[in-house]
């Protein structure tokens, strides 16, 4: 038998805010076995008396960063773990993690494309790992990200996404803002629907590999629409999260 995926101690190297409710944590993990873009890790918090809780978080960083893993966590006010991470954890703290976990919602550069990534809110995190991996690997496969956020201040990784899109290596990002749009907004301004997907997919064609991550309603809508748009089911990979912080 191989060994189980061991719990290991990460040291928090840096903390920074992505949006008012989303924060990234850079974890130093000298013993990390490496991951594939799209995978997640388990995190465990333990109190003095032994009481402990576990959660899974998508990995945001690319596999090329050896010994370092970044996670991006949305604060769920009613939750038990994300408020702790946001309010208590500071650089120098240690956290128990294990991973990597998950072998289906992954993309490696040799898989190729074209690639269509669709994110709702913090569902962008595993897709960001794919985009960072794509950039670091020098892959030039035609790639588009369709990213649904509620308002302009809630776009996670906004600056980095703009920078990646400006590199001229075949990556473009399309935003939709569902609740609030700033003056002069030229992007989409509604929930993701089939017409929007058809427009974003059009230049990529029917052999596109798609990865969708976000709330259940968005993922259901997108996956059903992609089937109708002619994408084979095995090229429609999904990852979902719901409001499960209670």
């Amino acid at each position: 038998m191989a060994r189980p995926i061991e719990w290991q101690l990460a040291t928090v190297a840096a903390v920074h805010d992505e949006t008012p409710s989303v924060r990234s944590f850079t974890l130093d993990l000298p013993g990390w076995a490496g991951h594939r873009a799209g995978q997640h890790l388990d995190l465990r918090l333990t109190a003095e008396d032994g009481y402990s809780v576990e959660r899974s978080y998508s990995i945001a960083s690319e596999p090329e960063r050896a010994g370092v893993v970044e996670i991006t966590v949305e604060r769920i006010p009613s939750g038990e773990v994300s408020p702790f991470l946001h309010e208590v954890v500071i650089p120098g703290d240690r956290l128990e993690v294990r991973g990597p976990i998950g072998g289906y919602f992954v993309w490696d550069a040799p898989l190729g494309g074209p690639l269509l990534l669709i994110a709702g809110g913090s569902g962008v995190v595993p897709l960001m790992s794919m985009l960072r991996h794509r950039a670091r690997a020098g892959a030039r496969v035609p790639t588009r990200l369709l990213f649904s956020s509620r308002g302009p201040d809630e776009i996670i990784y906004r600056v980095e996404l703009d920078r990646l899109a400006a590199a001229g290596d075949g990556f473009a990002v399309a935003h939709t803002l569902t609740r609030q749009q700033p003056p002069g907004w030229t992007g989409y301004a509604r929930r993701v629907d089939e017409a929007m997907l058809a427009e974003v997919l059009e230049p990529l064609g029917p052999t596109t590999r798609t990865y969708t991550c976000g709330p259940t309603a968005l993922v259901e809508t997108v996956a059903n629409a992609l089937v109708r748009l002619g994408i084979p089911p095995d090229r429609i990979r999904t990852e979902r999260f719901g409001p499960t912080g209670t």
Binding site: M1, A2, R3, P4, I5, E6, W7, Q8, L9, R44, L45, T46, A47, E48, Y51, S52, V53, E54, R55, S56, E80, F84, V88, V89, D93, R94, L95, E96, I101, G102, G103, Y104, F105, T216, V219, E220, A223, N224, L226, V227, P233, D234, I236, R237, T238, R240, F241, G242, P243, T244, T246
Partner: protein, 209 residues
């Protein structure tokens, strides 16, 4: 190595009282309770119309069985109220289903003595594997109602296998048949790093846990 590690500043949000203790007792290790019904699938939700739906039992049986939707609805069914745990860490208590016990489905087919494992197959190509011992004795059923309503497609409707004593990926959505085999055969998630048995009380999440 880290059995004694304590996370700085972590206390937890534990409720008090006997109710809280009872809920904790029903929550497997590493899980948290939720009241909603999260949806997790690796791909699009398949749609099979009921007039084309069948459920079959084949493999190491003397007489394979096959039911249409109408025939399946005529099988003896019952209500089940069970606690469900997903490997993604949520546990939901007292989930109410209606469906047909796997014992009932296997009654008529006359199992070959060599049959030791079951592979559930589904619309969309999903599979999961279980030892026969894990599904007999009313431990598993094929559900077509949840909470008094027809099972919704995103939750596996028209019918899904439900195996409450295992992590929820063993409760295959859109199930269309069971194949009896002499040899074990890892299913979809069992081939992608998840545990072959998946007992939530033993926290058998990943391959070598």
């Amino acid at each position: 190595m880290t059995e004694r590690f304590v996370t700085r500043g972590f206390v937890g949000r534990r409720g008090g009282g006997t109710d809280a203790a009872d809920l904790r007792r029903r929550t497997p290790p590493g899980q948290y309770l939720t009241t909603d019904f999260p949806v997790l699938s690796a791909g699009p939700t398949p749609r099979t119309s009921l007039d084309r739906w069948t459920f079959s039992i084949d493999g190491l049986v003397r007489e394979p069985a096959r039911w249409t939707w109408a025939e399946f609805m005529a099988l003896p069914a019952r209500e089940w109220t069970v606690d469900i745990s997903c490997v993604t860490k949520w546990t939901k208590l007292d989930m109410r289903w209606r469906g047909v016990s796997v014992d009932t489905l296997l009654e008529g087919v006359d199992l070959d003595p060599a049959a030791a494992f079951v592979v559930a197959s589904c619309d969309g190509g999903y599979t999961t594997n279980l030892p026969i011992a894990d599904v007999l004795g009313n431990q598993a059923f094929v559900a077509y109602e949840y909470d008094g309503q027809p099972l919704a497609p995103e939750h596996g409707g028209p019918a899904r296998l439900v195996v409450p004593a295992r992590y929820f990926w063993k409760s295959a959505k859109w199930v269309r048949g069971l194949r009896l085999q002499a040899r074990d055969e890892p299913g979809f998630w069992e081939s992608l790093g998840y545990h072959n048995r998946g007992d939530q009380w033993l926290e058998e999440r990943y391959s070598d846990d």
